[in-house]
Amino acid sequence: LNPTPMLNELESGPWPSFVSGFKELAERTKKPMLRGVLDQLEYSYNTKMGYWKGGLVTVDGYGAGVITRYSMIKDKIPEAAEFHTMRIQPAPGLHYNTAMMRELCDIWEKYGSGIITLHGQTGDIMLQGIEEKYVQQCFDELNEAGWDLGGAGAGMRTAVSCIGPGRCENACYDNLNLHLKALKHFVGVLHRPEWNYKLKFKFSGCPNDCTNAIMRSDLAVIGTWKDAIQIDRDEVTAWVEKKGMDALVNQVINLCPTRAISLKDGEMHIETRDCVRCMHCLNAMPKALSPGKERGISLLMGGKNTLKVGVNMGSLIIPFMKMESDEDVEAFIEQIETIIEWWEDAGLDHERIGETIERVGLKQFIEGAGIEADINMVSRPRDNPYFKAPY
């Protein structure tokens, strides 16, 4: 290994160091690419500029899933002339058994650098550092082991789910199942992008939104419920006995955003029609309170980050859909198909669906997607008279 004084600074301190990891891997495997990458990174740290450029590499039949990186300084550092990434879709909920994991590592070490990111922000396992010539073989072996490439480009992207029913008492639908079904359904356009721009799903089991779906997915599928919060009175009493009345008032009642909770004869009372399913009281009293029994999902649309229009949080489009049976799943996928058809027509190149909705109008969008207007879609009715109604 060449000296990397800058990077070495990142080996001190208590947090696990990626630099140490890379170095140890390089020492053991002696892969020149790893040395090259460390050298190029050191060079970036010194010059404060990046030196990768894109290109086009893919596997047979696919149009996306490999992020291509060629070095702009390969004359200086030839070992990392190519440093492509393979995006791999993990299981919903990011669950593994060690057999799967070890197999993945073995294939990856065989063909690639051995650097592995768990996980990319969109949810992919990112296998970072492979040369073009090994991509197909590596993919074939991975695919045979049950793995498939993730998304890139103007198509469906890899999705993320929270752990949901896999461990969480708040899960209002089986998000792992829906994730799997939906992504399998759209697998074609994930591999062969052909839309206006990317489209991301995220599946959160409840409005705590542990996948940050609202902010970073075009289609945020968030569990919710319609009926009253379930209250275990004994556990409420136990909670108050343990934490005190002050805590009940200051940390639960007072923090309900719509003041749906009040004290009636010293008992906590929740006015269901005032509750907006924010989750706070359930979070504060997990043993005593649980979501209602009539569970399902809300669909929020248009989440994305800063580019062009500024950050856009997803907007509530479908307040509620049941998500229990296979038919529910099918109805959901059909609805998404209709939405995408509309977007394919109405959208522009490189326009996220939230941008299209904003440009064209929410009313026009719901008409196009066959969704009924609902007051829950807006925080308030319009404050200007600037519309033409068809009367």
Binding site: M6, L10, G13, W15, P16, V19, G21, F22, E24, Y45, K48, M49, G50, V59, D60, G61, I67, H95, N97, T98, M101, C105, E109, G114, I115, I116, L118, H119, G123, D140, W147, D148, V160, C162, I163, P165, R167, C168, E169, A171, D174, H179, L180, L183, G188, L190, D209, C210, T211, I214, M215, P257, C278, P286, N305, T306, K308, V309, M313, H350
Partner: protein
């Protein structure tokens, strides 16, 4: 691209299946959980309706892992978690076990391997991480180095649960912000319009695409040395960097002029207040590898003030909303300036359209 002797026929399977990846106790109680508790930092206990309990031990990772590191984690999983492990959306690793006795030895082993146990409850969890100089084609800084520097400073906060509520951090190596909205975010802020590299442009640019990408129509076609090229109206340009993603000849990155900004108050959960985007509270911080002390210092100031002043359950943005932005700046020692006044599309909706005033 495909080699002729290919034998395997691709199965377009999409996401990996999850059944076999779930711990048996999880499989048994799937969707039937009753409640959880956090017995200590880094440990969760989830109890099912059946009465079964499953314990989770959570640990931090560098995210930019290696096969060796992953194999180590697999060893831990085999030893203490019946051969199962998972990752959180914040790059922490989790080991689930029904055996309470496994918890302490597992913690000790993870810590001794260098993986800090923590990241639960009212802590500072791992940073949302992006690509940076390691891999991206448009970064103005590194991501992993910034994350490592920050988490070194926040190590104790990761391992403890002494914040008013969860603190989510993120970092991004360009202003596109793949890292996302967070309680506190460190994001590159370009401060100069792109310089057009006309020679390069002639070779690589789909001109209309780059023109269309600019949100303020600052890019115009032009001819340079007889070749079609682009020019930037620098007065109009808002340094957003969108054009650079479309065309690498729109060189916006700069070793000195690409700076850092610090943002606060992003929130994605619906708990209590509606989700909210972040606000800028510091900018013009230098891009200073390998340790970025200046950004770390600002993050520290904010976290200290929040830890001191936040009430239970208040996220950073909720704390600020209660005390007001004026006091936020006073208590963190940061300075509000006129660049922080919104000037983009919906700027008017951020004006204080009231006589509500704090002195």
């Amino acid at each position: 691209m495909s080699s002729p002797e290919r034998k395997w026929k691709t199965i377009e399977s999409g996401p990996h299946t999850y059944e076999e990846a779930l711990h048996p106790v999880v499989r048994k109680n799937y969707g039937k959980w009753k409640y959880h508790e956090i017995p200590k930092p880094g440990v969760l206990m989830h109890v099912a309706e059946s009465g079964d309990a499953i314990y989770t031990v959570r640990a931090g990772t560098p995210r930019q892992d290696t096969v060796d590191m992953v194999r180590l984690l697999c060893d831990v999983a085999d030893k203490y978690a019946d051969g199962h492990l998972r990752f959180t959306v914040r790059n922490n690793v989790e080991f689930l076990t029904p055996n309470k006795e496994n918890i302490e030895p597992m913690i000790q082993e993870l810590e001794s391997l260098g993986f800090p146990v923590g990241g639960t409850g009212m802590c500072v969890s791992s940073v949302s991480h992006t690509q940076g100089w390691l891999h991206c084609d448009i970064p103005a800084t590194d991501a992993s180095g910034v994350v490592k520097s920050m988490m070194d400073s926040l190590y104790e906060e990761f391992k403890d649960m002494k914040m008013p509520n969860k603190v989510r951090l993120s970092t991004s190596c360009c202003s596109i912000n793949c890292g996302g909205q967070a309680d506190i975010a460190i994001v590159v802020k370009h401060t100069r319009p792109p310089r057009v590299n006309h020679d390069h442009l002639a070779m690589v640019c789909e001109l209309p695409k780059a023109v269309a990408r600019c949100p303020v129509a600052a890019i115009r076609p032009t001819v340079v040395n007889g070749k079609r090229s682009l020019m930037v109206d620098e007065a109009k340009c808002i340094c957003c960097g969108a054009c650079f993603g479309a065309c690498p000849a729109m060189e916006i990155n700069h070793p000195e002029h690409s700076k850092f900004a610090i943002w606060v108050g992003g929130k994605n959960s619906n708990a209590r207040s509606k989700p909210s985007t972040m606000s800028i509270v510091a900018h013009n911080l230098p891009n200073n590898p390998p340790r970025w002390p200046e950004v770390n210092e600002v993050v520290g100031k904010i976290l200290n003030a929040y830890k001191e002043g936040g009430r239970p359950w208040e996220r950073v943005g909720e704390w600020i909303n209660r005390i007001g932005w004026k006091r936020f700046f006073e208590e963190t020692g940061l300075t509000f300036d006129d660049n922080m006044i919104d000037s983009y599309r919906h700027a008017r909706t951020t004006f204080n359209q009231s006589a509500h005033v704090r002195f």
